[in-house]
């Protein structure tokens, strides 16, 4: 199985930028109504564990929070690889990224500096991801391009078009893999002027018909388990 975990991928934007490979065979929105706030670490850890992890994840230390593999659907796979997944294998390079984000608001860093590190992390993850395709029972790659670039530039169509084209290319490259493919986001995004804020439009798509209707992000745990059991 391949899971493309795309932070802040928003269905409306996927359609706007005509990303047919991201839409795959079946797509829709996820139901995030169980969460008081669409927080990245909370949503990814809830996706991994099949449980609402919100009460267990303090805001201030959320980026250090880790789930045990035994709590997650990963335990159903003989071999797996996760790349940069929040609450599991999130990379330390995001600390610098968040520092630059803060620096932008404090006027000690520029958007260009921030964008540069975001794209750098993305390229590193992409390389690692494609090297791992076909080598594991489960490959889960996390890419935060739409979220990070979106936070400072969601209102700039030119920039977001480039982001969505890049993510579309990821989906295109794996589309012929002889495997079950799930593309999923934690939350969507809405414009606040030139900036972007999380919204509750979580996205999912499968490369085969599953017949879901607004699934909760926690309900993918059982779907993935059943997929393994098949």
């Amino acid at each position: 199985m391949i899971i493309l975990a795309l932070d802040a991928l928003d269905l409306q934007q996927v359609k706007k930028y005509n990303c047919k490979y991201l839409l795959q065979e079946e797509y829709g929105k996820t139901d995030l109504s169980d969460f008081t706030q669409p927080r990245t670490v909370v949503l990814w850890s809830s996706f991994l564990t099949g449980k609402n992890m919100e009460p267990q994840i303090p805001l201030k230390t959320q980026w250090e929070f880790k789930v045990n593999p035994e709590q997650t659907f990963l335990k159903y796979f003989k071999t797996y690889k996760t790349i940069d997944v929040p609450a599991f294998s999130h990379k330390p390079s995001h600390v610098k990224e968040r520092e630059l984000l803060k620096g932008f608001f404090e006027e000690t860093a520029t958007i260009e500096e921030f964008d540069e590190i975001v794209w750098k992390i993305h390229e590193e993850n992409k390389k690692e991801f494609f090297e791992a395709v076909g080598k594991f029972d489960l490959l889960m790659g996390y890419f935060n391009l739409a979220d990070s670039i979106g936070h400072l530039s969601f209102g700039i169509t030119e920039k977001m078009a480039k982001v969505y084209q890049e993510l579309e290319q990821l989906a295109k490259k794996i589309k012929d893999a002889d495997d079950s493919i799930l593309i999923i986001s934690d939350h969507g995004m809405k414009a606040v002027g030139r900036f972007g804020d999380h919204n509750r439009n979580g996205f999912y798509s499968f490369n085969h018909k599953v017949g879901l209707n607004m699934p909760k992000i926690t309900s993918f745990y059982d779907l993935i388990r059943r997929d393994v059991e098949k």
Binding site: T40, H151, E158, G193, H198
Partner: protein, 257 residues
């Protein structure tokens, strides 16, 4: 008063021009210039094309330029455009290259000594310091601490450190005054100002850096009424400060900072 200022500019300067973005303020200013000279503008109208404007702006510009028989000069910083200058390189750098530098080049090329511009004191704090006749040096530097006095409506140009004069015929108008005037004169309005789907543009800039505001005003009467009762600033859709503060707060609440 506005017409007096325009006539004064024409009388004092050899080679004036009026800037026109196609927004409501500059459309009103161009109309005032026409009225000042009984329907026939004796100087050119300058439109700075950044290449990032809304398609409706270009359509409106070309249509009105033809109908009003304007001597329209469209200027672009082709070199910056060729070098991929865009808002993604930073809004300030982009504005400097595509607007300021384009205008500087045009002033040098055409030797304009006065530019009639439709800025207003109520737009934001720094514009409140403007004078109706406001001198600029070669680098567009504006020394707001040492401006000529404008007593008894007498406008005197400085004798040195002076490249061209900015002339501001609607400096003392408010946004409401402009819309009232547009209505009174039955002036054409760029359709972007009218609400579609609950939103409209209240101030027009480049596409990537301008966002619409919540509104249901779909004609000029409704806009006049909306502005009369509005408590939000006109450039809310263009100012990044409020959004920046909001986003900082939101990102903190999401644990990013």
């Amino acid at each position: 008063m506005s017409i007096t200022l325009i006539r004064e500019a024409k009388a004092q300067f050899k080679n004036p021009a009026v800037l026109w973005s196609t927004g409501k303020d500059s459309t009103a200013a161009v109309w005032l210039c026409k009225k000042a000279f009984f329907g026939k503008l004796p100087f050119p109208v300058v439109h700075i094309d950044t290449g990032y404007k809304f398609p409706q702006i270009y359509e409106f510009r070309d249509k009105i330029a033809k109908e009003w028989n304007l001597d329209l000069i469209v200027t672009r910083n082709e070199e910056a455009i060729k070098n991929n200058m865009s808002p993604k390189k930073g809004a300030l750098d982009c504005c400097t290259a595509l607007k300021t530098e384009a205008l500087k080049d045009l002033i040098r090329e055409r030797e304009f000594d006065a530019l009639i511009m439709a800025i207003r004191r109520d737009e934001h704090g720094i514009r409140a310091k403007e004078r109706q006749f406001s001198p600029r040096d070669d680098n567009f530097h504006w020394n707001y601490t040492d401006q000529p006095a404008e007593l008894w409506n007498l406008y005197v140009k400085p004798s040195e450190d002076f490249s061209h004069m900015r002339v501001h015929p609607i400096l003392t108008w408010t946004e409401y005054n402009v819309w009232e005037y547009m209505k009174q004169e039955k002036l054409p309005v760029n359709p972007l100002y009218f609400a579609k789907g609950g939103k409209r543009y209240r101030s027009l800039g480049c596409m990537p850096c301008t966002v619409p505001v919540e509104s249901t005003a779909s004609n000029i009467d409704e806009i006049v009424e909306e502005i009369r009762t509005s408590v939000s600033p006109e450039r809310a859709g263009r100012s990044q400060d409020k959004e920046k503060a909001y986003m900082m707060q939101k990102l903190r609440s999401l644990g990013y900072m």
